[in-house]
Amino acid sequence: MTDRSDGRVVLELTGVSRQFGAVRALTDVDFDCRAGEVHALVGENGSGKSTLLGIASGFVEPDRGSVRIDGQPLRTDSPALARKLGLAMAYQDGSAILAEPVKNNLYLAAPPERRPPYWRRKKWARQLLLEFDLDIELFPDVPVGFLTFAERQLFEVAKALVTEPKVLLLDEPTTALGPHEVEALHRTVVACRREGMGVVYVSHRLPEVLEIADRVTVLRDGRNVGTFDAREVSEPELVSLIVGRPFEAAFPVASPRYQRREEVLVVDGLQGQTFGPVSFTLETGEIVGVAGAEGNGQQQLFDTLAGRTPPKAGRVDCRGKDLALISTHGTVESGIMLLPGDRKREALMTVLGVRANATIQSLRRFAAAGVLRRRLERRTVAELVHRLSIRTPSLEQPVEFLSGGNQQKVSVSRTFLREPAVILAYEPTQGVDVGSRFDIYQALRMKADEGAAVLVKSSDPLELAGLCDRVLVMSRGQITEEIPGDELDEHRIVEAIVRGPGRSRSARSPLGVAMPKAPSQVGSP
C-alpha cells in the first residue's frame, strides 16, 4: 500500500487562490494527487471543492498560484490544454450531448489519435464500455438523453476514461447511484488506481470516501485544513474538521411558538423522477429544513410539491384537501407558495417593477371587477417595502436593477399578500448578502408565526440549524433522517449528510457500499 505514495505527482496545485466578487472561494490552497492513488476531497457545500476542480481542469483561472498536470504547468485557463496534459473530469451534472447517441459521445470525447475509424465506432464503443467494467449495459445507439440519471452519471465516468487520463477528477460521482452502482464505480476506480492513474474523488459521503480513498483532504471556507491518510482518520474526526465555519449571520428567535399546532401538509409516499417515495408532515407555525448534498432530489421534491412536475405516485394533502399537483395554478390556489432558488429565471419578472412583482399573486385583493385600485396597491406595497426593508429607490424600479437580497425580499413579499398554508423556500439566501439574510429569516419566521408551515431547502447547515424547528435529511431521493429541534446544530446536520444512507460503518457491505435504508418512517407520528 505504502509503495503507492512513491508514485510521481500527476496533479499539483500550489498556493491557489480565487475570488468571485466579494466571496473568497479559495485561499492559498495546496493540493496534489499522485499516480496510483485515490485522493478524496471533502467539505461542505460552498467550501471551495468545485472551484478547486474548476481550476485543476482549466475552466477557472486562479487569481494566484499554479497548476501542474503530470509535471507540466497549466499556463492558461484552458480545458483543452488540461485535457492534452492528461487530465479528465467526470462532471456531476453531466457534460454529454443528450441528443447524440452513446457511441458519438464517446467518439467525441476520445482524443483524435485514439478514435477508431468513424464507421467502426459502434463496436468500439461497446468494447470500451465492457473494458471500463462500469456495470452499465448501454446500447451504443441510444441517445444519452434517454439514459437514467444513474446511467448518465456512470457514462460520464466512461467519457472521462476514454481519454486514458493520467489524472481523473470525479465530482460527486455517486449522487444518482444506487448501492449496486456505487460498487461498480468503485471497482472501476480501483482498477484505474492499479493502472497508475491518479484519481481525485470529490464526495459528500464519508463512508464511500473512507472506503475508496488513500488520502483525504478537507476543505473548509476555501482553505485546506489538512490532508490525512484515509486509514488513520475516522469519520467523526473528519466531520469535526468539515464543520466549524465562522458564524456570520444572526437568526430570529423562534419566538412564542404558534399555539394551535395542526397538520397542514401531509405528504404520503410521494415519488418523482429522481426522488421518493418520501413521507412527511408539516404543521402550522413550524419551519422545517431540508438538508442534503446537492442533487439528491431536493429540487424535484420542491417542484413536485409546487405543482411544476407531476408526481409518479403518492398523495399530498394540504389543509385536508387532496392535491392533484398537476398545475401550479391549482397548488397556489390550494395555498402552497414556492419561492424558487433561481430568482431571476423562475421567480421574478425582472423587467417589471417592484410593485408589479410584489402583487402579481394577489391582484384579486386590489381589484374590483377586474379594475385595479392602484392607490391601494401602491400603499400596500410601500408598507411591505418598509416592513421587509427592501432597499429600492422607487416602487417602479425594475427588479433586475436590485441586489440579490432585495430581489429575494420582493419574492418573499408575495407571501405577505396572501395567507399561504405552506411556503416552499428553495435556497432562500443563495446569493444574498449577509445584511439581507436576517431580514429574510425574519420574514419567513413571521409567516410561520402567522400560521404558515415553511419548508426550507438549504445547502448551508448553519442556516438550517439556526432557522429551522426540525430538519429532514435527504439522500438519493429519500428522507434518511429527521433531526428534531433539540438536537439541531451544524455538526449534527453535517454528520447526517456525510453519513449518507448507511447508518454506520458496520452496516455496510465489504466493498464499503452503504446498504440502503428502508424508506424512512420520518413524518409518521
Partner: protein, 351 residues
C-alpha cells in the same frame, strides 16, 4: 398605522420611460425634415392622407405588439388582414343589412385563425415564427381561392364605406377607431388585473407559471386578440378602398413589426406601450408619405424603410434602458461615496 411614504424616484421613471423615447424623437426629426424638404407632407391634405394609412398600420401593429409582448411574433398578419377585407365584400354582398352578419363571420374566422396560432404556440409551445408563417400560408391559400368566388369589382356595403368616409372633428372616422383601440389597450394594461397578468406572463413565462398564472391561456389569448385586431384593420381598409384586391395585405407583414420595434417594445416580451406603438405606426406612415412627396423612386423607398427598421433595432428599448441605467448608476456611485444616507449605492444593484 404609520403609512410610510411611497418611495418615488424621478430617476427610475426616467429609466423605465427611456425605452419609449426614441419614437418621439424620430417623429420630431421627421417633422423637421419634412417641413424643410417636403412641406406638402404636413399640409392639411398631406396629413389627411396619412391618417387612414397610419391607422391601418397602427391597428395591425397593436395586434403584433400583443404577440411580441408574449415573446412571440406573428407572420400571419397579411393573410388575416386580406381575408377579413374580402369577407366584408363576399358576405356583405353590397347590402347594408348584411353588415352585422359579415362582421360576425369575420370575427369568427379571425378568432379561429388566432386560436390555431395560439394553441399551437401557447399550448404546444411550438416556434411562433414557423407556426404563424405556416398558418399565414394556409390563410393565403384560402384567400386566393375565396377571391375567385367573389364577383369581380364588387364593393363593400355602401353603409360601411359611407360611415368610414365621414369625418369626425375634421378627421376620418378610421383614425378615431384606431385612437379608441389604442386607448382601450392602454387602459387595460394600466388599470386591469387582466392586463397586469398578461404583462407578467410576457415578461417571464417561467416565473409566471411558478406564481400560478395560466401561462398558456394568456399566450393563446394574445394570438386571438391579435388576429381580431388585424381583422378590424382589414375591414377598415376594405371600406376605405371600397373594392379591396387580393394583395392588399402585403405591406402588413413587416410594417407592424417595424412599428412595434420602433415603438420600443422589448422583443423578449413583457414591455411595450400602446401609445408608442401607435405613434411609431404614424411615424412610418408619415415617412412613407414624405418620401412620396419628394418623389423618391419606389426602390429607394424600400431601402430607406429597411434602414429605419434597422436603426430602430439599434436603439431598441432594451438597449436604451440598459444604457441609461448604467449611466445613472455610475453617476450615482460617484456621488454616493461621499453620501450614504440610505440611498442606493452600487451594492444595491446586481452586477
Amino acid at each position: 398605522m404609520t403609512a410610510p411614504a411611497v418611495p418615488r424616484s424621478p430617476v427610475t421613471t426616467l429609466v423605465v420611460a427611456s425605452r419609449y423615447v426614441p419614437v418621439y424623437l424620430a417623429i420630431g426629426v421627421l417633422v423637421v425634415f419634412a417641413s424643410i424638404w417636403a412641406p406638402a407632407t404636413l399640409s392639411g391634405a398631406g396629413l389627411n392622407a396619412i391618417a387612414p394609412f397610419g391607422t391601418f398600420l397602427a391597428i395591425t401593429a397593436l395586434g403584433q405588439m400583443l404577440v411580441v409582448m408574449t415573446g412571440g411574433i406573428d407572420l400571419s398578419t397579411p393573410g388575416t388582414f386580406t381575408l377579413a377585407a374580402l369577407l366584408m365584400v363576399g358576405v356583405g354582398q353590397v347590402s347594408d343589412a348584411r353588415i352585422p352578419l359579415a362582421l360576425a363571420t369575420i370575427a369568427g374566422v379571425a378568432g379561429l385563425i388566432g386560436l390555431v396560432n395560439g394553441l399551437l404556440i401557447g399550448g404546444l409551445k411550438l416556434n411562433p415564427l414557423i407556426v404563424t408563417l405556416a398558418v399565414g400560408q394556409i390563410v393565403n391559400g384560402v384567400v386566393s381561392r375565396y377571391y375567385t368566388t367573389i364577383a369581380i369589382q364588387s364593393p363593400v356595403p355602401r353603409g360601411l364605406s359611407e360611415w368610414t368616409s365621414t369625418r369626425f372633428l375634421g378627421i376620418t372616422r378610421i383614425f378615431w377607431v384606431g385612437v379608441a383601440l389604442t386607448l382601450v389597450l392602454m387602459l387595460t394594461f394600466r388599470y386591469t388585473s387582466l392586463g397586469r397578468r398578461f404583462q407578467a406572463v410576457g415578461a417571464n413565462p417561467v416565473a409566471a407559471g411558478v406564481v400560478g398564472l395560466r401561462v398558456s391561456f394568456y399566450q393563446t389569448a394574445a394570438y386571438v386578440a391579435a388576429a381580431l385586431l388585424y381583422a378590424v384593420a382589414g375591414v377598415l381598409f376594405a371600406s376605405f378602398l371600397r373594392m379591396p384586391g387580393v394583395t392588399i395585405g402585403a405591406p402588413y407583414l413587416l410594417g407592424p413589426i417595424a412599428a412595434v420595434v420602433i415603438g420600443g417594445a422589448s422583443l423578449t416580451g413583457g414591455l411595450a406601450s400602446s401609445l408608442s406603438t401607435w405613434s411609431a405606426a404614424f411615424f412610418l406612415a408619415g415617412l412613407n408619405q414624405a418620401m412620396r412627396v419628394m418623389g423618391l423612386p419606389t426602390a429607394l423607398q424600400f431601402v430607406v424603410f429597411g434602414l429605419v427598421i434597422v436603426s430602430g433595432m439599434l436603439v431598441s428599448g432594451d438597449r436604451i434602458t440598459k444604457a441609461v441605467e448604467r449611466i445613472i448608476r455610475t453617476r450615482r456611485t460617484e456621488v454616493s461615496t461621499s453620501n450614504t444616507d440610505g440611498q442606493p449605492t452600487e451594492e444595491s444593484y446586481a452586477p
